[in-house]
């Protein structure tokens, strides 16, 4: 990615219950990430909400269901709607996941991992090229959590991620919580993993906490950020000029003051490494 991107600071993944508090605490949120899918095929109330948010914050659309890893190709209708939304918002960048969410006419309903093969890299590159025919605004890609280990891997997770970013020439939305979660569930060292990533491609970070279920750490976006994730964030920010950091809280929503505390911790990490003033 050669396009210079602005530094946005520390923000929040927008959820409807935050609306009132956001405007009461305007200075504590530098920018917002919106879930693009919530504004596709949506009632006029969502349109108004989008206009209101756009009038006060820089918005970064975050898509969930483009299914960039689908070997069958993209859903043209979804892509058209998504592209129209992103053009309307006109953000410095937008994001999607390295995953597939549908195949054979079945909507899986969540982000499913791809086999770590050269064919999967080719598919991602082909689909991303198709997206770029509709949209010139830079796309950055997010690493997902996974429980199911895909057979037939031709590379490890870090190599796969690096290969995709390099071949598709995309920035990385590094979800440090996802990285930590996978490292716990699949037994690897997240710091070694970071050392294998092209960190110069990191544009944005996600962070939050999850919960345990039957010895599996779940990326439920339901808990305060654990110390291990703060440590990983610190390591990444120390090594690369991250442009934006987003707290992604969805469940068990605490008071806005609690969220603001987490945002301030993240901002302090950016300041410590001279990434934010």
């Amino acid at each position: 990615m050669t396009i210079p991107l602005p530094t946005l600071g520390v923000g929040l993944g927008f959820r409807e219950p935050f609306l009132g508090d956001l405007f009461l605490n305007r200075r504590q949120v530098d920018f917002l990430e919106i879930t693009a899918d919530h504004y596709l095929d949506a009632p006029p109330e969502k349109e108004k909400e989008l206009k209101l948010l756009a009038a006060h914050f820089t918005l970064i659309p975050h898509a969930l269901n483009l299914s960039l890893g689908s070997a069958e190709g993209l859903d043209e209708n979804y892509l058209r709607q998504l592209a129209a939304l992103i053009k309307r918002v006109n953000p410095p960048w937008w994001s999607e996941h390295i995953a597939f969410t549908r195949a054979g006419g079945v909507d899986i309903g969540h982000l499913a991992p791809l086999p770590r093969t050269h064919e999967a890299v080719e598919v991602l590159c082909r689909n991303i090229a198709a997206v770029r025919r509709h949209l010139e605004i830079p796309l950055i890609l997010e690493n997902i959590t996974y429980v199911v280990e895909m057979p037939g891997a031709e590379m490890n997770e870090a190599e796969f991620l690096a290969e995709v970013l390099q071949r598709a020439d995309c920035g990385l939305l590094l979800d440090v919580t996802n990285l930590y979660t996978n490292s716990v569930n699949h037994g690897y060292d997240p710091h070694e993993f970071l050392a294998r990533l092209p960190l110069e491609r990191v544009v944005q970070l996600h962070f939050v906490g999850g919960h345990w279920h039957h010895d599996v750490l779940i990326d439920s976006h339901s808990q305060p950020t654990p110390p291990e994730v703060w440590e990983l964030m610190n390591e990444v920010v120390a090594r690369t000029p991250v442009k934006g950091v987003i707290l992604e809280r969805d469940e068990g929503l605490p008071s806005f003051a609690e969220l603001a505390k987490e945002l301030e911790c993240a901002r302090e990490i950016l300041r410590r490494h001279g990434r934010w003033t």
């Binding site: 070997a71 054979g104 499913a112 199911v148």
Partner: protein, 192 residues
């Protein structure tokens, strides 16, 4: 086996419990080639079950958010009904899914009282208003639906205050992008 075929099989494994059971016990009965079976044989049944369970929970949580009245009305049977529904109904967009599940509850949920049916109809009408092209909806009710909902939410869900009173509920927008307005008009008390 190419990625497209692999993903088709994975999508079935993640979303179709019957198919998943057969894949891990008798894969030859699924019409898959021996190459396809061999390639995916190393998949962990435990991991796939775990992921499939999380998908189902996500789907269920979405439904609970979209149908709070129905959830409260059906009570403990709501999750069992959803499991039954999900066995035979593929995932849809949230609004369509909630609508389809509400229909399923109406048909299979042993909703016997008239007021329960009315609550279900009232809630699904609200769902319809979230369609981007929705300009006008009108529904007739035998009870004063506003009072029924209030009482249902306040008191014991099994014994809401029932007041037979022919009622019309309207939802409308004056323009395509206009604010959604909601009116409930009850006729004079029905003593019959």
């Amino acid at each position: 086996m190419d990625l497209a075929k692999t993903q088709q099989i994975l999508a079935q494994l993640y979303t179709n419990s019957g198919w998943r059971r057969r894949f891990f016990t008798a894969p030859n009965t699924l019409g898959l080639s021996s190459e396809e079976i061999d390639r995916l044989a190393p998949l962990s049944a435990q991991q796939v079950d775990f992921f499939a369970g999380s998908l189902q929970r996500k789907r269920f949580n979405e439904i609970c958010k979209l149908l709070p009245l129905t959830h409260r009305m059906v009570g403990k049977r709501f999750s069992a009904l959803f499991r039954e529904y999900a066995e035979t109904n593929r995932m849809k967009k949230p609004r369509e899914e909630a609508q389809a599940f509400a229909n399923y509850v109406k048909k299979h949920g042993s909703i016997e009282t008239r007021w329960s049916v009315e609550l279900l109809r009232y809630e699904t009408a609200w769902l319809e208003t979230t369609r981007p092209d929705c300009r006008f909806i009108i529904r007739g009710f035998r009870y004063d639906i506003k009072k029924l909902v209030k009482s249902f939410l306040k008191k014991d869900a099994n014994q809401p205050t029932l007041q037979k009173q022919p009622t019309l509920a309207l939802w409308f927008r004056l323009s395509r992008q206009g604010r959604l307005r909601h009116l409930v008009l009850s006729l004079p008390l029905w003593r019959g």
